[in-house]
């Protein structure tokens, strides 16, 4: 119902809107911010897989083995690898937010160190879990 007003080109409707990514020079902290959002969205749609897997487990052996074969196929493993990294990256981003909530780590160069540390930790934890997964196979 307000579509007519939002499409008219009033100065207010043309003002820059958050987060306005096209304007600023790319920096690690802003890339980490947008990746936090992207991994969050990825995990959001990844819950489809989680629900499907749980329903299959609750149904019968045939359904469970079917989704297991799907998830352990080459494409399935790529998706699960991405899912693992998205989970850990979003988790590390969350811990960074917990630190910021206390008022710490917002200044230079602490915020750069935090961004680097969360990136390294997310990749490290993903590798650790996947090495463990292959060893347990």
């Amino acid at each position: 119902m307000s579509d007519s007003t939002s499409t008219t080109k009033s100065p207010e409707s043309r003002r820059p809107m958050s987060p306005h990514l096209q304007i600023y020079r790319p920096m690690l902290t802003m890339m980490m911010s947008i990746i936090h959002r992207i991994t969050g969205a990825g995990l959001y749609f990844g819950t489809l897989l989680l629900a499907w897997w749980l329903i299959a487990a609750a149904t019968d052996a045939k359904s469970y083995m079917f989704i297991n074969d799907l998830l352990t196929s080459f494409v399935g493993r790529i998706i699960l690898l991405g899912y693992t990294w998205a989970l850990f990256h979003h988790m590390m981003g969350g811990i960074r937010h917990f630190i910021w909530d206390t008022g710490r780590g917002l200044d230079h160069p602490e915020r750069e160190y935090l961004a680097q540390a969360s990136l390294i930790a997310s990749i490290g934890l993903t590798l650790f879990v996947w090495i463990l997964a292959y060893l347990l196979r």
Binding site: D3, S6, A41, Y44, A57, A58, Y64, L87, H97
Partner: protein, 130 residues
């Protein structure tokens, strides 16, 4: 809301629920609260998946159906679904500005989250109570 005679909001803004609806703090707090819960619950979930590697259906089912495992999965689902519904709401509000599509997407977000949450929780309960 009618008690506030000194509000900076325009009458049209109030009608359209634009500007502060005085629930922003609750949104952020619930987002953090679920995040605190998800930190240990996600670690638990990764360990659970690792423990299921190489298991056949019956042993996997037995692990998933153990009471403490089922309870932790239910907590993981509950906090995860609420957390993702809050997060996707912010993404929609940031990028979608047309009133109609924004409302439609916010409704779809809640429907998707509740459907996934109920389906996953039902599966866990069926597993553990069967």
């Amino acid at each position: 809301m009618s008690h506030n005679d000194h509000s900076m909001r325009t009458p049209m803004g109030k009608v359209r629920y634009l500007g502060s609806a005085k629930s922003g703090t609750t949104h952020v707090w619930h987002q953090r609260l679920t995040a605190y819960a998800l930190l240990p619950l996600s670690i638990f979930f990764v360990i659970l998946i690792l423990s299921l590697i190489g298991k056949d259906y019956n042993s996997a089912r037995a692990i998933l159906a153990a009471p403490y495992v089922s309870i932790l999965i239910l907590l993981f689902i509950g906090s995860g679904i609420y957390h993702m519904q809050l997060g996707m709401r912010v993404i929609i509000e940031d990028y979608v500005h047309a009133h109609g599509s924004k409302t439609a997407l916010l409704v779809a977000n809640t429907f998707f989250s509740v459907c996934i949450g109920i389906s996953a929780a039902y599966a866990v309960l069926k597993l553990s109570l069967a």
